[in-house]
Structures are given as C-alpha cells and as structure tokens.
Symmetry: C2
Subunit: 331 residues, 2 copies
C-alpha cells in the first residue's frame, strides 16, 4: 500500500484503547520503533503463541468486522489461558485486500474491546496489501515452572471442563442462518451467537489452576480431539462419561443426538479441559462458588486413547474426533 | 488443510535445525503445546518484532523457496539487530495455497540455515491453507535499559552506517535479469545476488552499540527514508555527505548517478544506521578492525529533517525518499 494508506491504517490501530488497554507497566516501549520492549516481572516465564485467521477457512467470508476483531484476539488469548498465563501484550500482522475505512473502524473497535476485556496491549504489527489474513501473536507471563502443559495427567486424576460444551458449534448454526429448532427462544439465539462471536478465554480460571491441575488445554477443535492431545502427551487413557457433559440451556432445544455430537466434536468452545489430582477435588466447589462453571466429566487411567461411555460402558471412539468446519471442499 | 496435510507440513518444520538452532537454554517449552515458554536471563528485557512477507508485494512471485525461507527470517531478525538485541526465538505463521513437498523442503532448509546463522529457535507456529503469506515474529533479549531506539540522537553526534549501501537494490536488478553494465564481473553478480537473497542482519555490530550509540535502526526502506525516521523521532536534523557514502566494488560497475540513487533510496540493505556521540569516535577504528564496515556519513544538528550534500552544500532532499519496489500498480 502507499505510505499515506499505511498512515491511514495506523490511525485505527494506534489508539489508547489498543496500546494501553491495561496498565502497561510491562510495556517499556510500544509501537513505533524497530521492535517493542517488554519487562517481565521477576521470577516469571514468557508464554508465546501465534495464530492466523483466514476468511473462508477459520470464519465465514461475511463475518462482521467488529466480531472478527474481537474473535481474532480472543482465540489467541485462549492459548494463554490454557497455559494459566497472565496476558501481557500482542502483535498484529494484518493483510488487507483494500483500505476500507468502515471495515477498519469496526475491526479495530472489536479488537480494542477484546484488548480491554483481556487486559492486553497492542505493541507492534505489520500491515500489508493482500488477501485478508489476521495474524496475532500473544505474549503472557506465568510464574516460572507453573505453566500448565498437556503432559502431566496421571492415573486417578479427575477430568474436568471449565464451562458448557457445544455452544460454539450451535452458535455457528445460528450465525449461518440454519433452520433452528422451534424450542429455541430469542434469548437462547442471542446467547449462542454471542458465544460464537465473542469467545471468552478462561483466564481467571486458568490462573486458579496454577500448581493445582496436572494437565490442560483449551478446547478449540472439539472435546474428543483435544482430549486425545492430553491422552497422547501424558501417556494415559481418558474416560469421558457422556451423561456428565455440561451443556447450556439453549443447546437443549436441539435433539439429544445433535446436542451430544456438538458437545463431543464441536469446535470453537474455548473452555478449558484439564485433569485434577483427586486430592484437589474440593477446589471444584470453590471454583463453582466463584462463578467458574467447572464440571467433572471423567477420569484418567493407565492406558492410551480416549474412551467414551454413552450408557453402555467405556469404549474407544469410532469416527472422526474433531469438528472441521469452514474447511475447503478439497481438504 | 486436512489433518494429515498438517502432519506432513510438521515434518518439515519440526526439525532439530529449526527447534534447536542455538543452545536453546532459553526455551523452557517449544513446539507442541498451547504455547511456548521462554526463560529470559536476569536483568534482560524482551524485544519483540513482527513482519509479514507476501508474494508480489515483498518479493517476486518466482522467488526460490530456499532463499525465501532464509530471507523471511533474516529480515525479521534485522529488527532485533537494530535494537542491539540477542536473538532468542521465533514463531512462524505460514499460509500456503497447496502442499507442495519440494517447495516445503527447500523453504524449510533455507529457514533452518538462517536459524542456525542467527542462533534463533523456532518455538511455535500456525499453518493454514490460503495465499502465500509468511508471518514471522522474532523475540530477543537486551540488558534492561540498553536497547537502541530511534529517539536518542543529539546535535554533535556522528551519523554512521554499518556496511555498504545500495547492494540490495543492485542485487534485485541482477536477480530480476535486468541488463547489466559491461563492467560487472561474474563475481560481482554473485556477490550482489547473495546480498539480495540472504541479507545478514548486523547482530554482532548491534551488540557493540549497546550503551554507546545514541540512536539507530536498520535500513530497510532506503537510507533517506530511514534517516528521516531518526530525525523525526529524535527531533534533530541529519546531514548526509554523499561523498562519504560507502558502496561495494560491484556497485561501481553502474553509472555514478544510478549508484548514488541506489545508495540513497534503495531498500533491502539491512545494514545499521546509527548516531554516535563524538566522544565515542575511537570506537569506529576498533569496529573496523573487528571486521564491521562502519563508515561516518554525516552528522547530527539542531533542526529537523534530512539534508544532503552532493557537492553543493547541504540542502533538504527533493523527491521521494524511499524505494518502493514490488508494490502493486495501484499503490
């Protein structure tokens, strides 16, 4: 793009809401030099994750730009929540086909809303002309040695989930204008759309899990696919009891079979899945009292893979684990 | 892409050369979890920079993939050199139109060569199907308070450059098969191509500038455009004496006017431009003795903007400052 177009774009991103969304004490030098400078607190490790969002792959072509801005950051921050990190800062690599000012205005406002909600500052970026591509790198910090990884689950642990399952997939059905069940009230539609448009990374719950949970991640590809990641990294078998899976009231408007499929295989929930040593069980009631909708959905055993009980005893899962929406036809 | 395609791609990037290019003592947790973990040394600040490279915008469509892999990382690392940082780690967000194994093989080998040359580990990434887009985020560390920014230049300082100017632009002419001057030997062509394909960020010189230079950056948009950034950030005038600009022997094959234009406005040189308090002048001979081709090209004065002397006294620059190659026709 020409230099004046870059200056124009800068106007949308060099805003106080984006650069100083949080107190910014960690940001020693922000946007405008060759690189940004961050000061980690003593005894902390840096947590780093990169995500790209492409139109038609990760979201529908006609996604509203404000929601897209929010979502791009929320999805990346969810990886910080999964490591139990505290957000520090993010960079944005944005490729845009044209300089569309109303689009930029809405996108940057959505991004700023997420930056404020997750207390994370924009510290750098790069804007180029090209097909729409949103690259976000998030940085966080965690006390040294306390990050939660996928590899610590042990036999006897409880398997827990941090919130309702399947809302992301049901929200997508609502957003895409699919025919909806008669029992789904307007309030339920609103709830599900909001769950899809503006995922809420479980940062506070994540921080509660430091030094307590044994393994964890965020559910982005679907419960079964992500449980498989923990089982494999930890070298254990995970047993999941379908009867214990938590679903929202709105999701109950669908037939039980559709509801169960979304809870097991739906993506985009961005709730935490973690294993908890049995001695820590009393924490669950404390977390629930503090507003975190934690549920026990199974247990950890010697062995390998993910076994599911749908009322007939635990058995290995048949068929595809994860939900692959928006993938191109030739995938 | 389908999951098996992702697994295939992973084979090219999850290599020892990329994940353990350096001793890796800073990498507490690398690729494979929700995020990577880094441990900074005590008393260090984190340096962060993000760059995107798009075919047709930042490099010719038919760029050889090994050179592209090298260049994508080199260009990003040059921003660390400009801050006088030591590289720690990088993430790669790669969007690819198809899974082309020979292309991936060559690209990853070029990337690995750069990772080894600059002692920087791949710690995370994201691969998606889409138009070719290479997003690199580099992380480095610098002793707290010693990073070199653009804003510290003061009247009386010397203006210095860390290596020859114009090679990037001349190298592009060679690479693009433009008609070359008769006096350009094969060895000179090779030299210039190499300068274009594989820029060498001045990391070691940068580290020598810590606590010594007053302002600095890397020349990516051309000397005049980047000098303007220092002048503006520091609130000073920079005087540049054209007779003092260092150019390679290969560049001298072109007519003096073309040579001067490339030295002033050519991009892609990735050498450091910095200001040095006059009391530090003796360092220049030390740096040159150590193999860093540092030259004094001007001086810092009260005032604003960049003034150029081409033999008729210092005058403000007329015309475009920077060299905007590969930009699309409607830019």
């Amino acid at each position: 793009m020409a230099l004046d177009e870059f200056a124009l774009i800068g106007r949308y991103f060099r805003t106080a809401q984006l650069e100083r969304a949080t107190d910014a004490s960690a940001t020693a030098l922000g946007i405008g030099d060759d690189a940004a400078l961050l000061q980690l607190a003593a005894g902390q490790q840096l947590v780093v994750s990169t995500d790209s969002l492409l139109a038609g792959v990760h979201f529908p072509e006609r996604y509203p730009p404000a929601e897209l801005g929010y979502r791009a950051l929320a999805v990346a921050v969810s990886d910080l929540a999964a490591m139990t990190a505290t957000p520090l800062a993010f960079t944005l690599a944005l490729s845009l086909p044209t300089v569309d000012e109303p689009w930029l205005q809405a996108f940057s406002l959505g991004l700023a809303a997420a930056a404020r909600d997750f207390a994370i500052n924009l510290i750098g970026g790069d804007t180029t002309r090209g097909p729409l591509n949103i690259g976000v790198t998030v940085l966080g910090q965690v006390p040294a040695g306390q990050a939660l990884t996928r590899s610590g689950a042990r036999g006897g642990d409880l398997l827990c989930v941090g919130g309702p399952l399947g809302d992301g997939a049901a929200g997508l059905a609502v957003v895409q204008g699919e025919s909806l069940p008669a029992g789904l009230a307007i309030a339920g539609q609103d709830y599900l759309q909001q769950r899809f448009w503006r995922p809420q990374p479980q940062l506070l719950l994540g921080q509660q899990l430091r030094g307590v949970a044994s393994a964890g991640l965020d559910i982005s590809d679907g419960l079964l696919a992500d449980a498989e990641h923990i089982a494999e990294s930890s070298g254990v078998a995970l047993h999941i009891n379908a009867a214990q899976l938590p679903g929202s009231e709105a999701l109950s408007a669908w037939a039980p079979r559709q509801k169960l499929d979304w809870m097991l295989r739906g993506g985009d929930d961005y709730v935490l899945l973690f294993t908890l040593p049995a001695r820590e069980k009393a924490r669950i009631a404390q977390w629930r009292a503090a507003g975190h909708a934690v549920s026990v959905i199974g247990s950890v055993h010697a062995g390998s893979g993910v076994l599911l009980d749908v009322g007939k005893g635990y058995a290995p899962i048949a068929g595809e684990r994860g939900y692959q929406h928006f993938r191109s036809a030739n995938d």
